[in-house]
């Protein structure tokens, strides 16, 4: 039976990225995937007639341009087009619009508060400063602060240098920023409830925390540090849905000679004499390689797919305690036509924007209260988009696909599995909230796919369906991610590596964990590095 140089477990965007960079270095690589399709949560699915659903992830911004360019993803069919703006529908019939044009955005803010409109510039500069600080470390391996290896010391010095370079005042600000709640942070700039609400969403998306929970200011940053063509903070749609990203990376991988096996779920990572030797598949087949790279989250990797006896006891315990909590669900809808939102003027650019149906900080926090009580938010935070307004490939002409990301939605209901009725009720909650602002919406629904964290876990494999493969809190970031001492993509067993979003720099369609892990593997093998360097911007 054939032996490979490396096996990558999981054909999500990070697994494929990792596999592609290894294959580019001349390694014989196979990427195994449990589903009969690739992409993991970076996927476009044909679930109803001619509609293609971005049924997990739905927008693209964080994908590192260095990786995009290096893997020549444009040659493999990827196109990312920016979209702009956001709208917050209000219970009093008004709305707060976020516009692409700076001056229009200013005027809209000034309609609520001149103070807030003027404060927005310094807010943006302050957040951008934090983004620049962190962005520089996305495509590098976190240094181990306890190590005396030259590489670690140099990287620590680089981080320290960049930090010192900010100047005393801004260093203080940075330390505060990394530990604050998004509500407190926004409160330092803005006075208007709906404006704060609009900006706070980015602080909790994908996170089992509320807007008043410490650490959520950083999550906001995680959503701001992306870009589309150098426009920092911009978000875009992958043409054809987010599955186009995984497809393109898979194309690059295969062009480099890589092999993808679908319907090949891994039952066990096989360890012999403290080293991994391959994987056993669900069907009993074994594949052998000296290197096994897991793109699965750490819990699934170590608690489900490995023998406890192969792992250090403390490591095992740490993995058990890793925070990876289901907090969001999705409702994906095929529409017979474009729903109207009477609060918006006809033809408003805001139809193309992120739509939200929650207008106060109190409602945001109460949505989280429901989650803590073990149920879905009865008045949820929905991040709704209609990508087919700009993408002609996802639905038949005149028809639309609507993606609703819903927060909060627990992995289990009061500690037990979801029932079919509850799942139905969760979907209704979402549809009703939108219908409050769009009277014709319900009549246009042709098909809806309702996904709780439990469904996402069952299908994609991510523990609790957590979109980031683990909370983005300080205790689980940088050299703490996923576990202190194991942040450099190497597992506790020889030949075993991690490249999923549980590792630095975390989740979102960034592909940085996959690329960073590839760099470490190639370095261990003393192979030339194929992973690109950070573009840098000074």
């Amino acid at each position: 039976m054939k032996t490979y140089d490396a096996i990558v477990v999981g054909a999500g965007h990070n697994g494929l990225t990792n596999a592609a960079f290894l294959a580019k270095a001349g390694l014989d690589v196979v990427c195994v995937e449990k589903n009969d399709y690739i992409g993991g949560a970076t996927v476009s699915r044909n679930l109803y007639k001619d509609w293609w659903y971005s049924n997990c992830s739905y927008v693209c911004s964080l994908l590192r341009p260095e990786i995009y360019r290096s893997l020549e993803l444009h040659k493999h069919g990827l196109q990312v087009t920016p979209y702009g703006g956001s709208v917050q529908f209000m219970q009093n019939g008004d709305y707060y619009g976020g516009y692409h044009d700076d001056e229009v955005a200013y005027r809209e803010m000034a309609r609520f508060s001149r103070h807030d409109a003027d404060a927005y510039k310094s807010y943006s500069a302050d957040v951008m400063r934090q983004c620049r600080f962190i962005r520089d470390f996305l495509l590098s391996t976190p240094p181990d602060p306890t190590s005396f290896k030259p590489k670690d010391l140099m990287e620590l010095a680089r981080i320290g240098g960049k930090f010192m370079d900010m100047g005393e005042d801004r260093m203080h600000e940075t330390i505060r920023f990394w530990t604050m709640s998004v509500a407190d942070y926004l409160g330092e700039y803005f006075e208007t409830d709906v404006i704060k609400t609009a900006l706070s969403g980015s602080g909790i998306i994908g996170t089992a925390l509320g807007i008043h929970s410490p650490g959520t200011a950083y999550v906001l940053l995680h959503h701001y540090m992306g870009e589309v063509d150098g426009n920092a903070g911009s978000w875009g749609f992958a043409r054809g849905g987010t599955g186009a990203v995984a497809k393109a990376i898979a194309g690059a991988f295969q062009a480099a000679g890589g092999e993808i096996r679908t319907e090949a779920g891994v039952a066990q990572i096989i360890v012999k004499n403290g080293k991994t030797v391959g994987v056993a598949l669900d069907n009993g087949d074994e594949i052998h390689a000296d290197i096994v790279v897991s793109a699965m989250d750490v819990k699934r990797t170590f608690l489900t797919c490995m023998d406890k006896n192969d792992l250090p006891e403390k490591f095992h315990r740490r993995v058990e305690n890793f925070k990876i909590r289901g907090s969001s669900g999705k409702v994906n809808i095929a529409l017979d036509g474009l729903p109207t939102f009477p609060a918006l003027p006809e033809g408003s650019s805001l139809y193309h924007s992120d739509m939200h149906f929650i207008d106060s900080m109190e409602r945001m926090e109460r949505a989280y209260d429901d989650w803590k009580d073990g149920t879905w938010s009865k008045d949820p935070y929905i991040d709704m988009l209609i990508p087919t307004l700009s993408d002609p490939t996802m639905a038949p002409p005149g028809k639309h696909f609507m993606s609703c990301f819903v927060q909060y939605c627990p992995h289990q209901i009061e500690g037990r599995a979801w029932t079919a009725d509850e799942k139905e009720a969760f979907g209704k909650t979402v549809i009703n909230q939108i219908a409050n602002y769009s009277p014709d919406f319900k009549d246009l629904i042709l098909h809806a796919e309702i996904r709780t964290p439990q469904d996402i876990e069952a299908e994609i494999g991510i523990t609790e369906g957590n979109i980031f493969h683990g909370e983005l809190t300080m205790d689980q970031l940088l050299f703490n991610r996923p576990i202190p001492g194991y942040a450099q993509y190497r597992g506790p067993v020889g030949g075993l590596y991690m490249c999923g979003s549980s590792t630095h720099p975390g989740g979102g369609i960034m592909a940085a964990p996959g690329a960073n892990a590839a760099r470490e593997i190639l370095s261990d093998l003393k192979r030339p590095n194929t992973v690109p360097e950070n573009f840098g911007d000074d």
């Binding site: 001056e103 404060a119 400063r129 003027p345």
Partner: protein
């Protein structure tokens, strides 16, 4: 549900003078200024420039950010806010001022009009309501954003006095530079200040928007015999560089909007030490500025008189150190001055370079018929404005 509101205006706004400016526009070249349409040029940028230096150029400054500051503590508040001593600015006077953050870095510059006892108008390029409001702690003061409530025109050039005189404005002959007065215009109050951005004889007129068109008509009627012309930003920009005045986002960035370290500037670095009064009570940035004065500044703004006739746009600046030319900074504004027949520029260099009389070099790139050429031109640091004619300060002004 309440009634559906109209969306905020989606395109460019029009100033109260727009209908008249539009009538005089032949080029259809506009840019955006704080959300408003503002002309680059109306018929010919070069000729519009000479209107400022030879006749009178009229420029619509309505989009400028304006705040009304009133209350018993208005003066103390402003004194705390800006670096210069506002106690010295009596009612009826105007002060150019800068304000800083706690690190002594300039947030913006602007003019403060002491309209009446205890009543001020602050004009700036940027919008600072959040900052101004935050600074009110402990002061009994009220701040109102009044950009849209005041229409304003800059009336600049040697014949500007004659024109306003012909319009029937009384007492103008006694108005000194940086003075202001209130006059009646067709039954409403108009404020006239002897201020401007051109270093020439000139005035600014401030009136309620409903009277804007009447004011324009009266002004242009009176100006008919005195070479009055509406002008755009190109002309004003050239006059601004000749005057050696700073432009925000060009010579400095508002400190609260800079992302990178070291991209903001202190007043000392901008050559505005004369605006910093360490003798007055505490003000924002005082401690940092005192420290900077002790240990020396990092940057120095320079006015340069450059050899040759090729404007040094975006050039690097060099100084000779140990026989070798070393890069020490860059040009921020450059122009060939038609009135001075000089190749002039503003730039920023590393201190202690940039003292008046220093001889520097600038690397000028210029294009001739597609091909690019490069030359190193000598540049002398000067300390006076390039253009500062006696008529600018003459009181009473002559009937030029």
């Amino acid at each position: 549900m309440t009634t559906v509101r109209d969306p905020v205006h989606q395109g460019r706004l029009k100033t109260p003078f727009f209908p008249r400016v539009e009538q005089l526009d032949f080029l259809n070249e506009w840019h955006e200024w704080k959300g408003y349409s503002s002309p680059n040029a109306l018929y010919c940028g070069d000729l519009e420039y000479f209107a400022i230096r030879n006749g009178t150029g009229v420029f619509d400054i309505s989009p400028m950010t304006k705040y009304r500051i009133t209350g018993p503590d208005a003066m103390e508040y402003l004194n705390r806010l800006v670096t210069r001593d506002m106690a010295k600015i009596k009612a009826g006077r105007v002060a150019y001022a800068v304000w800083c953050d706690d690190q002594g870095q300039v947030i913006d510059d602007g003019t403060i009009f002491h309209l009446r006892e205890g009543e001020y108008r602050l004009c700036s390029q940027e919008r600072h309501f959040a900052w101004l409001q935050a600074a009110t702690i402990g002061f009994d003061v009220s701040i109102v954003h009044e950009t849209e409530r005041v229409a304003a025109l800059a009336v600049q050039g040697p014949t500007s006095f004659s024109i306003l005189n012909a319009m029937g404005i009384k007492g103008l002959d006694q108005l000194k530079p940086f003075g202001l007065m209130h006059v009646d215009f067709q039954g409403v109050e108009m404020m006239v200040s002897r201020t401007g951005f051109t270093a020439d004889l000139g005035y600014e007129l401030w009136i309620e928007p409903s009277k804007a068109l009447d004011l324009w008509d009266a002004l242009f009627k009176a100006g008919e015999l005195y070479k009055i012309r509406a002008i755009g930003t190109h002309a004003l920009e050239l006059a601004r560089i000749e005057a050696g005045y700073l432009a925000p986002y060009t010579e400095f960035l508002p400190a609260d909007e800079t992302v990178r370290t070291g991209r903001s500037r202190s007043p000392l670095e901008l050559g505005l030490e004369w605006l910093v009064d360490f003798k007055k009570p505490n003000f924002n940035g005082r401690r940092a500025l005192a420290e900077e004065k002790r240990r020396g500044s990092t940057w120095q703004l320079v006015k340069l008189d450059i050899a040759g006739n090729k404007p040094a746009h975006s050039s690097y600046i060099y100084a000779k150190e140990k026989g070798k030319k070393k890069e020490i900074g860059f040009i921020t504004s450059a122009a060939w001055s038609p009135v001075c027949k000089q190749n002039i520029a503003l730039g920023t260099v590393r201190a202690p370079h940039g003292k008046p009389g220093d001889e520097l070099w600038v690397e000028v790139y210029y294009q001739r018929e597609m091909h690019w050429n490069r030359t190193m031109a000598k540049a002398m640091v000067v300390d006076k404005p390039f253009w500062f004619p006696p008529r600018r300060g003459a009181t009473p002004p002559g009937p030029y």
